[in-house]
């Protein structure tokens, strides 16, 4: 039988049936593979967090990479929580927090014209913190997220319990230029952050990524990537605006250390502590925008 394939009705029926079949196949594949894909994404995040604490670097050499990472994660990542802008723990899943959504709020805070507008936005912030324990060392891990040259870039920074010294950092990207901007995801780049300080003369100072190379004795700077200027600058900016939002938490923690050391006072938790934190915080913010 010879079909008349040029008939309009035939053409419409044919394409409709074809598209429905294709859609069915794709929907089935997508649903069936979803759990496995999400597991991969979660595993990658776990690995990044562990790497900031310089753990699990040999994961690729293990026979069962996913089991190895999960075991390490449950052993060392002892706590995680979500903070509000005051540095107080609020309800929420740190691991599930959408960094992109938080970045969109932070971006608006930075661009806000009045302090009141910034404050209203700040109240919506949900900032995740991960706590990693290695023997008796306690590390707080903070995320950062921002736009790179071609797509988003993000990372995690582990800070020692003095809330000043960086223990380790890991960065990753969606699609920066290989060999140039993509170098931020290499250990040769992010290992530079180890031992750098997040403060200068007692005030918060983020890490600068210096074009042409940071001085070896500069505690706040690391070398930028040659040929990856936009990625380097975006990363510097992402780290600065994110850590700035965490300053309330930093200050609460630092105050707690200070009082422990000098006179065994109660860690400051009352209202005056908050007001003090906010002034510090705003100073820090102004510093950054200069």
């Amino acid at each position: 039988m010879k079909l008349n394939t040029n008939n309009n009705i035939y053409t419409i029926l044919y394409t409709t049936i074809l598209v429905v079949i294709v859609a069915g196949v794709l929907a089935y594949a997508s649903t069936a593979l979803k759990p496995k894909q999400q597991e991969n994404i979660a595993l990658e995040k776990m690995q990044s967090l562990l790497r900031t604490a310089r753990l699990g670097e040999d994961a690729s050499a293990q026979d069962n990479k996913s089991e190895y990472i999960k075991a390490l994660y449950s052993k060392h990542m002892t706590n995680d929580f979500v903070l509000n802008y005051e540095g107080k723990v609020i309800e929420g899943e740190a691991f599930e927090t959408d960094l992109q959504a938080q970045y969109n709020i932070i971006k608006q805070i930075v661009a806000a014209k009045t302090p009141e507008a910034a404050q209203t936005l700040r109240e919506q912030l949900r900032l995740p913190v991960f706590v990693c324990t290695i023997d008796d060392k306690v590390l707080n891990i903070f995320p950062c997220y921002g736009p790179g040259l071609w797509g988003p870039i993000w990372g995690y920074i582990a800070v020692e319990d003095d809330f000043e010294t960086i223990y380790g950092a890991v960065f990753d990207h969606k699609g920066e230029t290989p060999g140039l901007g993509a170098e931020i995801a290499h250990d040769t780049f992010y290992n530079q952050f180890v031992g750098k300080k997040l403060s200068k003369d007692g005030a918060f100072k983020s890490i600068s990524i210096v074009k042409g190379g940071a001085q070896a004795d500069n505690p706040n700077g690391v070398d930028a990537i040659s040929g990856g200027t936009i990625t380097s600058q975006s990363l510097e900016n992402a780290i600065a605006i994110w850590l700035n939002e965490y300053q309330a938490y930093f200050n609460i923690k630092r105050a707690a250390i200070g009082s422990d050391e000098c006179c065994d006072e109660e860690p400051c938790t009352g209202d005056d502590c908050d007001s003090h934190d906010e002034t510090r915080n705003q100073e820090g913010h102004e510093d950054h925008t200069k």
């Binding site: 079909l3 394939t5 040029n6 008939n7 035939y10 053409t11 044919y14 394409t15 074809l18 598209v19 294709v22 196949v25 794709l26 594949a29 997508s30 593979l33 496995k36 894909q37 991969n40 994404i41 595993l43 990658e44 969606k174 699609g175 290989p178 060999g179 040929g227």
Partner: protein, 206 residues
């Protein structure tokens, strides 16, 4: 079945060097061998099965919407490959990022469907598609080998050039940053075409 269907795409009618199809992805995904091999396999699967599927329904496709029907089938296979890589080879899928999705636009696939699958039976079409994918893959692997070895000093991510050769460690050697960038890949493609044409005289134009 003619053995030439399988043999030709590797050398005599190679999709990249002779038909000059699929150049863009040959520049984009050849920075590292691992990515190039996964890309080659993905393209092979897509060309093979899209040719076979289109060939098996070739007599029923309405001629006026021919290209769209082909595209739907190719797109379906590409998305399937993408989903599978995300689930079972997540690292590589991340490295190849958008290029897997862009297999849809790889000229080899539509080229082989139009030129071969529409006029031949499903099995020869499958073989033709697979062979073209492999011929493409062969060139990709050659380029990636050169680019990864001289651009990064590694093969499959394993350091090949001894560390103490590097200037940073007091040696005399430095990785060639230019090789990492796409223009150098184009020059390597050119060099491969040059070599092939000097071996295979009948390809030379008057």
């Amino acid at each position: 079945m003619d053995k030439k269907i399988f043999k030709n795409p590797f050398f005599k009618a190679n999709p990249i060097t002779v038909l000059v199809l699929g150049i863009c992805s040959a520049l984009a995904v050849t920075v590292q061998l691992k990515g190039a091999i996964v890309m080659a396999l993905s393209v092979t699967v897509v060309t093979g099965f899209s040719s076979m599927l289109v060939s098996s329904i070739r007599n029923s496709i309405p001629n006026r919407v021919r290209i769209i029907v082909q595209l739907v089938i190719v797109a379906m296979l590409v998305i399937l490959v993408d989903e599978f890589l995300k689930a079972f080879a997540y690292d590589v899928s991340k490295q190849l990022s958008v290029y897997i999705g862009l297999i849809i636009t790889n000229c080899i696939i539509m080229g082989r469907i139009e030129a071969f699958a529409l006029g031949n039976k499903p099995f020869p079409s499958l073989v033709d598609g697979l062979a073209n994918g492999m011929g493409y893959g062969l060139v990709l692997v050659i380029i990636a080998f050169i680019r990864e070895l001289f651009g990064s000093g590694t093969l499959f991510g394993v350091q090949i050039i001894p560390q103490n050769w590097y200037m940073a460690n007091g040696g005399f050697y430095e990785n060639n940053g230019l090789i990492i960038l796409p223009p150098m890949a184009l020059i390597i493609v050119g060099a491969i075409i040059w070599v092939q044409r000097s071996v295979q005289k009948e390809l030379q134009e008057e």
